[in-house]
């Protein structure tokens, strides 16, 4: 079987930073696998500013932040980038199988870094009674539809949960001419950064209902309205507070969860509550020579932290390879 010194799974901010740091620390054979047709990961759809304040001391958009890394990587011949490459299998010996158009490849990695990111939480969705009409989107999917595909998923929007992506999308929908009726948050405070409440909601006078929950989504083929009520300390509906909001679209923005099926498959010890690896030190896992970084390791507020910690993972991998017999 083919053996590579360092394989990195995921070409988002985590994988990019890890690859660069590993190279800078002496690794000369790096394979970077990305399932999409571009490097950059989720940054490509995050066209808003707010990235790089710590790392670059400049306020960049997501794609600008990504390109600073992509341009460097493209000039380093020791880093082989394989796009449209989806890893489908991983063993505890760090043998991995990936598919790409027209090919399936299995190889072993002496060192392996997983930068597989996260996905949007949808668990709470199931707890919202009502029909299953069209028009309900995870906020990040709506972001992709607008910013990458150029499609506007709806005209009258209610956002459930005040995670950062939901707040960012409230502004984005408003700028695109849609009407954002409300952001509904069951907790006492916004889940997202306060700066996003200010610049995405307050700037456009969009209402944030704290301590409120959606009781029901109505609509036959398409969403027609939602029923909302205020909740008490036990998150139970306060009688007499119900109201309805007409809308054709509901966005769900209730947080993110690490995406770690591959390391689970390989038998890495997992923390079931957070869906991240059990880890004694930053990025380490129960399998020697296997690191997890970025949002797959833990959910970060800002990408600068992902870059910093993932670079550390790249450095650890380089050290590990140097010490191999």
């Amino acid at each position: 079987m083919i053996s590579r010194d360092l394989v990195i799974v995921g070409g988002g901010p985590a994988g990019l930073a890890a690859a660069l740091a590993a190279y800078e620390n002496g690794v000369k054979d790096i394979l970077l696998l990305e399932r999409d047709q571009y490097l950059g990961g989720i940054l490509n759809q995050c066209i808003h500013p707010g990235f790089g304040l710590q790392y670059f001391k400049a306020e960049l958009t997501g794609p600008q932040y990504a390109e600073r890394f992509i341009q460097k990587i493209n000039h380093i011949k020791e880093i082989e980038v394989s796009l449209k490459s989806l890893v489908v299998h991983l063993t505890k010996e760090k043998a991995l199988t990936y598919i790409k158009p027209g090919a399936m490849q299995t190889l072993t990695a002496k060192a392996l870094i997983m930068g597989t990111g996260c996905r949007e939480r949808t668990r709470e969705m199931i707890q919202i009674p009502g029909t299953r009409p069209a028009g309900i989107f995870p906020a990040g999917l709506a972001q992709k539809l607008i910013n990458i595909e150029g499609l506007l998923p709806g005209r009258e929007v209610v956002i459930i949960g005040s995670g950062d992506i939901g707040l960012i999308m409230a502004r984005r929908f408003t700028l695109e001419g849609a009407q954002v009726k409300a952001v509904i948050e069951i907790q006492k405070e916004s889940r997202g950064l306060i700066r996003n409440v200010v610049q995405c909601l307050d700037d456009f006078n969009l209402p944030l209902y704290l301590r409120h929950k959606i009781l029901k989504i109505h609509g036959k083929d398409r969403v027609e309205k939602v029923t909302v009520a205020e909740v008490d300390d036990k998150l139970q509906e306060i009688p007499g507070t119900r109201f309805e909001l007409a809308c054709d679209t509901v966005l769900i923005s209730v947080g993110l969860i690490p995406e770690n099926e591959l390391i689970e498959m390989a038998g890495v010890a997992m923390d079931e509550k957070t869906n991240s690896p059990e880890s004694s030190e930053l990025s380490t896992t129960s399998i020697p020579g296997l690191w997890v970084c970025g949002n797959a390791y833990k959910i970060y507020d800002v990408v600068d932290g992902v870059t910093r910690d993932s670079a550390q993972a790249g450095k650890l991998a380089a050290e590990y390879l140097r010490n191999l017999p």
Binding site: N44, I47, H48, P49, G50, L53, E59, L60, T61, P63, Q64, A66, E67, I146, N147, I148, E149, G150, L175, E176, L193, I194, R195, V197, V198, Q199, D203, D301, V302
Partner: protein, 118 residues
């Protein structure tokens, strides 16, 4: 007059208290760094935001090209700027940070791309 604000210049989001006299900010407190004071003055005297959006492409690898103003523009110009951006079409490959429109809407800022689009 006293006005409470939240600094949005970084993710810390410091709560600020600005003392205002004759339409101008005379004192700012609550900021953890000098940027907070700058922000409070700007926000009260002439609030500004960076605008980001996308423009439709023709014949390029990506359907939408992300763009931004390279500097903040007055808050009250944001919606007008959006309708200007919506009218644009991009039909040539661009590099990241390439100027699409110089002195956009005479605001003294440039509209630039934020991604290489082949």
């Amino acid at each position: 007059m006293i006005k409470k604000l939240t600094c949005i210049a970084c993710p810390q989001g410091c709560p600020l208290i600005a003392e205002i006299g004759q339409g101008r900010v005379s004192k700012v407190s609550g900021n953890k760094c000098p940027k907070g004071e700058e922000y409070a003055k700007q926000e009260i005297e002439n609030p500004q935001r960076v605008l980001t959006s996308t423009i439709l492409t023709q014949g390029l690898a990506l359907k939408m090209a992300p763009v931004r103003t390279n500097k903040p523009i007055p808050k009250n110009k944001i919606l007008e700027a959006m309708s200007e951006i919506k009218k644009l079409r991009l039909n040539r490959p661009v590099k990241v940070d390439e100027v699409i429109i110089e002195n956009f809407m005479e605001l003294g800022v440039d509209l630039i791309t934020t991604r290489t689009v082949d």
